[in-house]
Amino acid sequence: MMSHAKLAEIFNKDEAKVNWHDKALWYVREKRDTAAHNVKGWEYLRDLASGIKANVLSNLDNYLVEFEKNAQSNGIEVHWASNAEEHNKIVYQILTQNNATKVVKSKSMLTEECHLNPYLESKGIEVIDTDLGERIVQLAKEPPSHIVLPAIHKTKEEIDVLFQEHLGTKPSNGDPQYLTNEARKHLRDKFLNADVAITGVNFAIAETGGFVVCTNEGNADMGVHLSKVHIASMGIEKIIPKEVHLGVFLRLLARSATGQPITTYSSHFNKPASGNVIHIVIVDNGRTEQLSREDFRSSLSCIRCGACMNTCPIYRRSGGYSYNATIPGPIGSILSPGMDMKKHSSLPFASTLCGSCSNVCPVKINIHEQLYKWRQIITKEQKQPFVKKSILKIAALVLAKPKLYAVLGISVRWMLKYAPRFMVYSKLNAWGKSREFPKVENGNFDQWYKNRKNNG
């Protein structure tokens, strides 16, 4: 299992690609800034959203029951899954009951989290991701590298080659217009032949029992309207209390995500069309446990806009795959250790704690503070590299003893000044691989101050 640092180092071997990736995401961050500037009271809106989500998380049990009751009275079938396995089984059961073999799916990070596609494929079901970016990574047999822009790591030229291989397109030098049209033709056929449509859920409204799915391509609507059966998968935290609260969240979501005022489609599903069925699968999969961790509870407020990824100077330069998690980037780094601490133990350290993520977060999750808190837990509960641990433990002892520190300070300075370069800049010295140490001056500040005092 490679650490984030190692995977980031590999990604950085191609500096031109890193620059391209960084610029592509920074462009989205800047679009977000412009969009947010155009909303009067943006910061107030964030406060509101954060408050509503805090209320939801404190009363989640009641809201979920209320949602279930209202959804059922609208004729929606509600299922509960305590983990990914149960979720997948429920979905498969619904498919079997409907003799379904062909499924179209609109983007859903939850089904990624549950690894639904490989599960259904192993049962002989065809699952087609219909969001263009998702379809691209699906064809490439890769997971999404970003939660909103799943194929952001791919250039249009790479997509050109991929489409030639899988969709039989002609070489077009990465012409986006041509490639999109070809994808549309390919997907249209899939939409028309699908038995069941699966979507995610952006907001589930307790008061009405309805839910909202936000897409830019309209693929959720297209899938749902062409199939008799609609399965919507949602995490328990997707609840909002009232329909009016959409006025807060829909204003924040797309602006934070891509800098659009609103997604092209905000599809409201309240009850099945005549002769059709809607199923909702409500999934826990570790969320209740995260809810029980006081310091990390608010991570469940996340509305999956991806703004923290776009602003994160590390994510932009290490790529989504360096996180090796369904949800990459800053928010993923506080969610993932709660799911599997051993596997994800390097993620909270993949940050300078610069705090930009917390500042862009539309629901004001204190992401960088939670990263700091995970670090304290991980060093206690997970085995740490011997050298790193020893150095820090020894440093702690020295820093608690001023006299010892003074002696050591002088020795280190002496070494930096007089030791031969090959010794100081050895392989063990990660600082010195691409950086110089400061030029050591004759005395330290302590000595200068003492001399000044003595000289009156």
């Binding site: 100077p313 300078t352 704690l353 705090g355 917390s358 670090r375 702690a396 820093l399 500040f445």
Partner: protein
């Protein structure tokens, strides 16, 4: 007003001239400044690495050194931020509470507490300001590019009054330099790339001297500049404010 001068460990050992400039600057402002001997470190490197518990000894030394002062002033935003934010691991005695409350980053102390912006400095160079994250987003020394607040910058208020200075505007106003304490070593590849990108922004905008209120960021950038022989240098903001050129 009794002012205790806090000189962070790496400044004490590696950049004594930054400590000297800080002390001289505060004295120029007419203050009685005391430098408690026996200072070690605020414990930030340990806390950020996940060994906060082990840092308690260092934190206690800090509190003992500074508990008698009305103000504790240091030329490093991230250390001050650590004291204010993360000394919550200590028992909250009166001494600890006071130390946390009375610790100030140098620029903030001059502007907010002393109410001064013009210190009579002159520095005829093109300067780029690196807004360190812990100072900016942690101590709120300025408005952040992510937030839709009214614009302000404590460091710029001081730099604008410096005679002859030309403050250059940057393309990315407040992106992290990639130092991040032990991050610079344990995530070496990204840290270096972030630093290189920051430097390029300053170069692209005609900067001659990169300055900031946190010398740890500047140390990281300086290390890259020296390795790559780039035509730029770094100076702590205290050195510029203490200049009469």
């Amino acid at each position: 007003m009794r002012v205790g001068l806090f000189i962070p460990c790496y400044i004490n050992q590696l950049y004594p001239k930054v400590g000297i400039a800080t002390l001289e600057l505060l004295e120029k402002l007419g203050l009685d400044v005391f430098y408690p001997t026996g200072q070690t470190c605020c414990g930030q490197p340990l806390g950020n690495s996940g060994y906060e518990e082990d840092a308690k000894g260092a934190c206690q030394v800090f509190v003992e050194n500074f508990k008698e002062y009305d103000y504790i002033v240091g030329p490093s935003g991230s250390c001050i931020h650590h004291i204010k934010e993360h000394f919550d691991i200590l028992e909250q005695t009166e001494a600890v509470i006071n130390v946390r409350k009375n610790s100030y980053e140098l620029c903030e102390f001059i502007v907010k507490i002393l109410g001064k912006t013009n210190i009579g400095a002159s520095f005829p160079y093109k300067v780029g300001l690196h807004k360190s994250c812990h100072g900016l987003r942690g101590l709120k020394l300025g408005s952040c590019s992510e937030r839709m607040d009214a614009y302000y910058s404590t460091e710029e208020e001081l730099l604008k009054e410096v005679k002859g200075i030309e403050l250059m505007s940057l393309t990315r106003k407040d992106e992290c330099c990639g130092f991040g304490g032990t991050f610079s070593v344990f995530e070496e590849a990204i840290s270096v790339k972030m630093g290189k990108d920051r430097i390029q922004d300053h170069l692209d905008n005609g900067v001659e001297v990169i300055t900031g209120a946190d010398h740890s960021c500047l140390m990281h950038l300086d290390g890259l500049l020296n390795r790559n022989n780039q035509p730029l240098r770094v100076m702590h903001i205290a050195e510029i404010l203490n200049s009469c050129i």
